[in-house]
């Protein structure tokens, strides 16, 4: 089956395609401009690319012809006044439910959640999350302001949505954004005074991933550990992967709720591969045990994989991984072996398989 991958980089968007001969670079767009992430909407085939122009702010572009042409569309914006900030970056972008054609969710830095009902022509801030009292205690994780990096629409009910915030925890709505509940039970933070350890507002889930076929099964790569939930985020349990429990990226198998992949990195002080060896951790038994996958991955290497730098296709077999030093790898067998893409790419912010 044909597969494509969107690779968003510091210097443009690269679209890779797989045919019988393997993966090859098929298209490149927005040369020289930072593309922070991209989305392929499976409902209608539309592509979206979020840019963050250093001087001129965040922008959003849409392609209805597979990338052949792009048009700039509205960018999510905070309402004017009331001490509101300006959007610095689109940090997450996801399609709404399968039964909600044309709907999109976008998460920003600062941590505003935005919703569009018309394929990005118009956006509105989701006030109910922006006004939760806890937000006053959210803080930046890697950026000056807190941001929303993960948006997970429940495939069983489009009104059920989970968001992940660095730093602000995990939140869930079951009424399409009218109200929100914190979902951090079981998580802890090792980087605050002990009395704040279980505070929802200080939790730093670097990335949240969900099994599409079994949506109650969720995974988190947190700042100080790896967590799993089997009950739709009501309770999180810590897992103990080898190599390191620090990292940013996690990918959930779309069909097998026991399988997920993580890219460990050496501690928050260092943020590089442990022993200068790139590896991927995979569990296939719900986090009870892990395999550390190394075949085809480089050593010595100093690549760091950001939170949006790992993705898996809808079969759970084909993976793509991109690093901040422009390393790009593909696997066609669930991570058992990795093939290095030889093009020397710009720093990679996000990858997405479609």
């Amino acid at each position: 089956m044909e597969r494509r991958a969107l690779v968003s980089t510091r210097k443009g968007l690269f679209i890779y395609a797989r045919d019988d001969g393997g993966w090859h670079l098929a298209q490149s767009h927005f040369g020289g401009s930072p593309v922070t992430l991209a989305l392929a909407d499976r409902r209608d085939g539309t592509l979206y690319a979020a840019l963050n122009l250093g001087h001129f702010g965040p922008k959003l572009h849409r392609s209805e012809d597979g990338g052949a042409s792009w048009e700039e569309i509205a960018v999510p914006a905070f309402p004017t006044g009331d001490g509101n900030p300006a959007l610095k970056q689109i940090w997450s972008l996801e399609a709404g439910g399968a039964d909600e054609a044309g709907t999109l969710w976008a998460g920003g830095i600062p941590a505003g959640l935005f919703f569009s009902e018309d394929r990005g022509a118009n956006w509105r801030l989701v006030d109910s999350l922006w006004t939760v009292p806890d937000r006053a205690r959210w803080f930046g994780g890697g950026y000056d302001d807190a941001g929303i990096h993960s948006i997970l629409v429940d495939p069983r009910n489009s009104g059920y949505v989970i968001v992940g915030i660095s730093c602000g925890g995990v939140w869930q709505t079951i009424d399409h954004g009218d109200s929100w509940s914190a979902r951090t039970e079981g998580m802890y933070a090792a980087y605050v005074p002990p009395e704040k350890k279980y505070d929802t507002a200080v939790q730093d889930p670097h990335r949240v991933a969900r099994c599409g076929a079994h949506p109650d099964s969720l995974w988190i790569q947190h700042h100080n550990g790896v967590f799993r939930s089997t009950d739709d985020a009501k309770q999180w349990n810590e897992l103990h992967p080898p190599v390191s429990n620090f990292g940013f990226a996690v990918a959930a198998h779309p069909k097998d709720h026991l399988t997920a992949w993580f890219v460990p990195a050496h501690s928050d002080q260092r943020r590089e591969p442990v022993d200068a060896a790139m590896v991927v951790n995979r569990t296939r038994d719900g986090g009870r045990t892990f395999e550390t996958l190394r075949a085809g991955l480089p050593a010595p290497a100093y690549d760091l994989v950001y939170r949006h730098g790992l993705d898996v296709d809808e079969d759970g077999e084909c993976l793509v991984m991109g690093s901040t030093t422009g390393g790009l790898w593909f696997s066609r067998n669930g991570g058992d072996e990795w093939q290095f893409e030889s093009t020397r790419l710009p720093p990679i912010y996000a990858v997405r398989m479609y």
Partner: protein
């Protein structure tokens, strides 16, 4: 009547009108407002959604670089030349 001439950095490419127009307005903000009324897309590149000059955009008025926070409120003269440029702080 105050009529300033406004130049935009070539980095804004096709967003900027090819012909430099002389624009009415008492302050930099007023002048830009008139231009943005004809070009809403350009507005989002120069100002953020709160109407502030983007952090890494700078304005020169008659050869002098304006202090960032005061730039929009600065009064322009009848023959002023305004340049809207990229600040090198933005990389």
């Amino acid at each position: 009547m105050v009529m300033a001439t406004v130049h935009f950095t070539a980095r804004l490419g096709a967003l900027v009108p090819a012909k430099q127009a002389r624009v009415d307005g008492a302050t930099v903000r007023d002048v830009l407002k008139h231009i943005f009324a004809q070009n809403a897309q350009l507005k989002g590149y120069v100002l953020d959604e709160q109407g502030r000059l983007r952090k890494h955009v700078c304005v020169f008025l008659d050869g002098e670089r304006l202090a960032h926070d005061a730039a929009l409120a600065t009064c322009v003269g009848p023959q002023s030349e305004i340049y809207v440029m990229q600040a090198l702080s933005g990389g």
